[in-house]
């Protein structure tokens, strides 16, 4: 059982949460005309073996979206913060557009 420390509710079981998606991808700006940045955003992933930032939804609790750091190899849990407060790395998608 993965135990996630929700910033609002405290330490909770993973069964209260729903996995969202990879939090390392950022949406390109809405005036982006190229196809590839959108393909990268929607479909392509780094898929790391190790630490990974990801969205989880505390759907059976406070219903907040959180960004969780989790190790995909060991299932170790790192930092967890509200998605609205999270500082995400610059978009891979916009880099790949160049």
């Amino acid at each position: 059982m993965i135990r996630i420390k929700c910033p609002i509710c405290g330490l909770r079981n993973e069964t209260e949460f729903t996995y969202g998606e990879d939090a390392n991808v950022n949406r390109p700006s809405m005036d982006e005309q190229g196809v590839q940045p959108w393909v990268d955003f929607v479909f392509n992933r780094d898929n790391p073996r190790g630490w990974h930032k990801e969205y989880w939804h505390h759907v059976q609790g406070c219903r907040q979206w959180v960004v969780l750091e989790r190790n995909t190899l060991t299932h170790e849990i790192g930092n967890c913060e509200l998605a609205r407060d999270a500082k995400l790395p610059p978009s891979q998608a916009s880099e790949a557009a160049e």
């Binding site: 993973e14 479909f43 898929n47 995909t72």
Partner: protein, 416 residues
Amino acid sequence: MRYSGLRVIKEALTGHKGWRPAWRDPEPKKSYDVVIIGGGGHGLATAYYLSKVHKITNVAVIEKGYIGGGNVGRNTTIIRSNYLLDGNEPFYELSLKLWEGLEQDFNYNAMVSQRGILNLVHTDAQRDAARRRGNAMILNGSDAELLDANGVRAMYPFLNFDNARFPIKGGLLHRRGGTVRHDAVAWGYARGADMRGVDIIQNCEVTGFKIENGKCLGVETTKGFIGAKKVASCVAGSSSRVMEKAGMRLPIESHVLQAFVSEGLKPVLDGVITFGAGHFYCSQSDKGGLVFGGDLDMYNSYAQRGNLPVVEDVMEGGMALIPAIGRVRMLRSWGGIMDMSMDGSPFIDKTHIDGLYFNGGWCYGGFKATPASGWCYAHLLATDKPHEVATAYRLDRFRTGHMIDEKGVGPNPNLH
């Protein structure tokens, strides 16, 4: 060395002293025509068909662990050709036809058992979907029969038919589907490839590619550089990690899928059953254990083990479908890493790098695809043209809008 009944008798009478290793353990040569990365079912099948069908024998299969130690040794052994979409069904039908002749072809007992797969339906809408899929299967040369509740009851009277929430209203029966002894598939292909001169190099991890001027010249490994005219990646759950070394970013996420085996029971379940109201599928192995599985753990994972909430969920699915297994004890559970693609369908394609090829994205359907995956990948490597049943498995299909999304759930890899 050919296996035969006569040979078994002869060895039995002479103290079993004549058996030899089924494949060699060679050191890598300096270069090969084709280097296949990954000694799993697909990689070994590719090497086998390259050497047998296309007569390309200067081939190495490089495996970081031991052959057959990944998903080909970790699945629930089911084979079937019951897909809906045109991009998929002809491919899986080819695969099932290859399964049907496999043991004679590679002279190895893979225990191919066409015991039938029954997909249960619980609602009118599911019955409509089953009828549609059954028709698509028949149009593509496969077989399908739609059973009503009495038809299912005649086969499996012990199912929970009159459950208030999930009554069983019938099922789509695919008689040619079944199970195979999964390890023997890896061993049989390995032996067949080795006999034709393919070098199977175990405990040798690829650490990088040598790419110059847009052309792949070989692979860096823990046993040194190995040159190759063509390099073919075929590493399932590690696809993103390997292709990252060539600077590629894939439409794939790695997820863990668990599988389970119960203690041995007397024969109770002679086919494969899938529950339509939850994610649960079950068969009985020849040793008597119930072999079953269910959903992914839902989050990205490279750990070859899962978590308890999914164990509970799968058991609940099993109890909902077959209440009689309530007192059966679980023997083992394990996890394998699935290369979940963004539309639930695989890739067999060239990459943008000359001489570098990619096979992956099999999600949790890789085992049944093993023969056709090897067949089509070998065809691509030998001719540089996709095989006619694998033309849809392109890496650029997301860019061009030609997704093959059987379940229609969009780019959510954990839901396929």
